[in-house]
């Protein structure tokens, strides 16, 4: 290119020459230029002609913007130059959304927004703090990508609304204690129904309640109820313990008393029978010889008695000796 002409050279004379120069140079370089462009185009086509899909993913392919298919993990070919476009979706992974808390460290600081997610009204117009998770899989990547603008936001919104609806039909007690499993399974069912209505392409794996608590300010009074339950149980147990301690013993004692009475009855009857027998036997003898028997019995008895007594025999003529016997320890029997 000639740059010799100064700024004040004639415009008319120079112009065709200038173009001629540029053109000559262009023609010389055209071959290289075309070669460069060709290599570039081939390289571009080559690199944009295939793609790989990771094991956790599925690939959604569109041709001129139109959906043509969903492909499994592996190496795949496609039309180059952006004619076919690939969007990869983590279809195999179980994804999780958390409500009322965040496991990730950077969200740990429970800010008000997160706390708000978990605060809800129960059917008896009390407040409960319900934390839960929803785990889901992308069941249909095409629907997931093209049916809703913001699937995750939808998942969160619906799950929150449904959880509140389910808890709203329960008493606060139920939500805190026995109803947990039912609440989770009902929420899962209803949430899936709504997802299907939107054709979201999402399948819920599970809905699980995490912590369910009364609000912080009310917690103490809930604990008091639990404590009262313990007290109730303790009072009843104590009474029952006392009962169990006393009654069986009393039963045994009563049985003993009855048995003793039975024994007594048997004993006195046998004694009576024995005495009667003895009397009848003696009577029989007595009837044979009344005086002899009577005398014999009298003497025998006296013998028995006197053998164990200290007997002082006094002649009737020495009456009035009583003051001699003043030993207080001895029983003094009067005369027979």
């Amino acid at each position: 290119m000639s740059r010799s002409s100064g700024p004040n050279s004639s415009f008319n004379g120079i112009f065709p020459e200038e173009i001629q120069g540029v053109f000559n140079q262009l023609r010389n370089n055209l071959r290289f230029l075309l070669l460069g462009v060709g290599v570039f185009v081939i390289a571009w086509g080559g690199f944009s002609g295939f793609y790989t899909v990771e094991p956790t993913e599925e690939a959604v392919v569109t041709r001129f913007g139109k959906y043509i298919g969903t492909y499994a993990p592996g190496l795949h070919f496609k039309l180059p130059f952006g004619v076919d476009r690939v969007k990869k979706v983590k279809a195999k992974l179980v994804l999780q959304e958390e409500f009322g808390f965040r496991t990730q460290e950077r969200f740990r600081k429970n800010n008000a927004r997160v706390l708000k997610e978990s605060r809800m009204l129960t059917g008896d117009l009390n407040v409960a703090i319900v934390e839960w998770i929803i785990q889901y899989q992308i069941a249909d990547p095409r629907k997931y990508l093209f049916n809703t603008q913001n699937p995750i936001r939808n998942i969160r919104d619906i799950s929150e609304a449904i959880m509140r609806r389910v808890v709203g039909d329960r008493s606060v007690n139920d939500a805190l204690t026995t109803g947990r499993v039912e609440i989770a399974s009902e929420a899962e069912k209803l949430t899936q129904e709504v997802f299907d209505r939107y054709d979201l392409g999402v399948r819920i794996v599970t809905v699980k309640l995490q912590n369910v608590n009364p609000p912080e300010l009310v917690k103490a009074s809930f604990n008091e109820v639990n404590a009262a339950k313990q007290e109730q149980e303790q009072a009843i147990n104590m009474a029952e313990k006392e009962y169990n301690k006393v009654i069986p013993e009393a039963r045994g004692k009563a049985q003993r008393r009855i048995s003793e009475a039975e024994g007594y009855a048997i004993a006195v009857i046998n004694q009576a029978k024995g005495n009667a027998q003895k009397f009848l036997a003696l009577l029989k003898e007595h009837q044979v010889n009344p005086l002899v028997t009577q005398k014999r019995l009298y003497i025998e008895t006296m013998e028995k008695i006197f053998s164990r007594l200290k007997v002082i025999v006094v002649d009737p003529s020495v009456k009035g000796i009583m003051p001699l016997f003043t030993n207080p320890e001895n029983k003094i029997e009067k005369k027979i």
């Binding site: 913007g65 008493s171 009397f279």
Partner: protein
């Protein structure tokens, strides 16, 4: 080659490329488009994805979403029919069903969101304030049945553990119906903007913060009441068991006494009859024998007695005969 022709060719290919580029466009999946010519919409909206042609430069393509879109409302403080102040947070899902109307009336998504906000907020406010709070909280009357069931159970068990406190109102509509009412009304109004409301969800309903404090206080007093009741039931049950114990104890003891007395009485009666049977045969002789026995028993070992020799026993002792 004539340099002029080469120049022409390059120029033409640039121009041709430009024309081709500006006269085709891709409509991706999940989008719809409308073609405008100098700002005026031309033809019907395009909904099917793929490759399309248009006039270069003078026609422009306006893309709109075909997918379900979300609307997120601001929490609103609304008084209910029963004068309870609550904060209601709603979300809605909507879609553009008439692209032409949509661009003409709201231009773009941002404009639509603003319209949605205005209309949905107003309808939500009207609907909520025309109903009692419970209608927005509960969906069914299951809780009433549950409470009945609980009460029946407790009657059976005799021990009341805990109960649903407070008046539980019957609902006639319920949360789901309220939200579908809102959705229906909003849908009617938004049709003219080319928008269809798919659903409205009452995402959050909570007490307004000053009310919340009172609710907490009520909850606390309710729990305290329940705790007291539970304790008193415990004490009552304890007293009942103690009473039963005392009753059983007295019953057992008195029954034992009765039986013992019965046995003893019967035995004594029998004894009497045995003696009677024997004694009628010789009552004089019995008197004699019984007297002797009594003597024998009356004197204990080592007792001292003073006897006069003129007693019958010493008759021989005295007289020798």
């Amino acid at each position: 080659m004539n340099p002029k022709i080469s120049l022409m060719m390059i120029f033409c290919s640039f121009v041709g490329g430009g024309v081709f580029y500006t006269s085709t466009f891709l409509l991706p999946e999940g989008k719809q488009a409308i073609i405008t010519q100098f700002g005026r919409p031309v033809g019907s909206p395009l909904a099917q994805s793929g490759l399309y042609f248009k006039l270069p430069w003078i026609q422009k393509v306006c893309y709109l979403d075909k997918r379900i879109l979300s609307w997120d409302g601001h929490p609103n403080q609304i008084p209910t029919k029963d004068k309870k102040y609550i904060i209601v947070d709603t979300t809605a899902r909507w879609r553009i069903i008439d692209a032409l109307k949509f661009i003409q009336t709201v231009q773009n998504e941002r404009g639509a969101q603003a319209r949605l906000g205005g209309i949905l907020d107003a309808i939500t406010r009207d609907t909520i304030s025309n109903h009692n709070l419970v209608e927005a909280v509960r969906n069914t009357n299951d809780i009433l049945e549950l409470s009945e069931k609980l009460k029946a159970q407790q009657r059976e068990k005799e021990i009341i553990e805990e109960e649903i406190t407070g008046e539980i109102e019957k609902i006639t509509k319920g949360r789901e119906m309220l939200s579908s009412m809102i959705a229906k009304l909003a849908d009617q109004e938004l049709r003219s903007f080319g928008i269809s409301i798919i659903d409205v969800q009452l995402r959050r309903i909570e007490y307004e913060s000053s009310v919340e404090q009172k609710v907490y206080e009520r909850m606390i007093s309710e729990r305290k009441k329940i705790a007291e009741k539970i304790r008193s039931i415990g004490k009552g049950e304890q007293a009942r068991i103690q009473g039963r114990m005392s009753r059983d104890l007295q019953k057992i003891e008195s029954e034992a006494y009765r039986k013992a007395q019965e046995y003893k009485g019967k035995a004594e009666a029998e004894v009497a009859s045995i003696y009677k049977k024997a004694l009628v045969q010789g009552s004089k002789f019995y008197e004699f024998i019984r007297t002797l026995e009594a003597y024998e028993k009356s004197f204990q070992e080592g007792s001292q007695v003073i006897l006069s020799t003129d007693s019958d026993f010493f008759k021989l002792f005295h007289s020798g005969m």
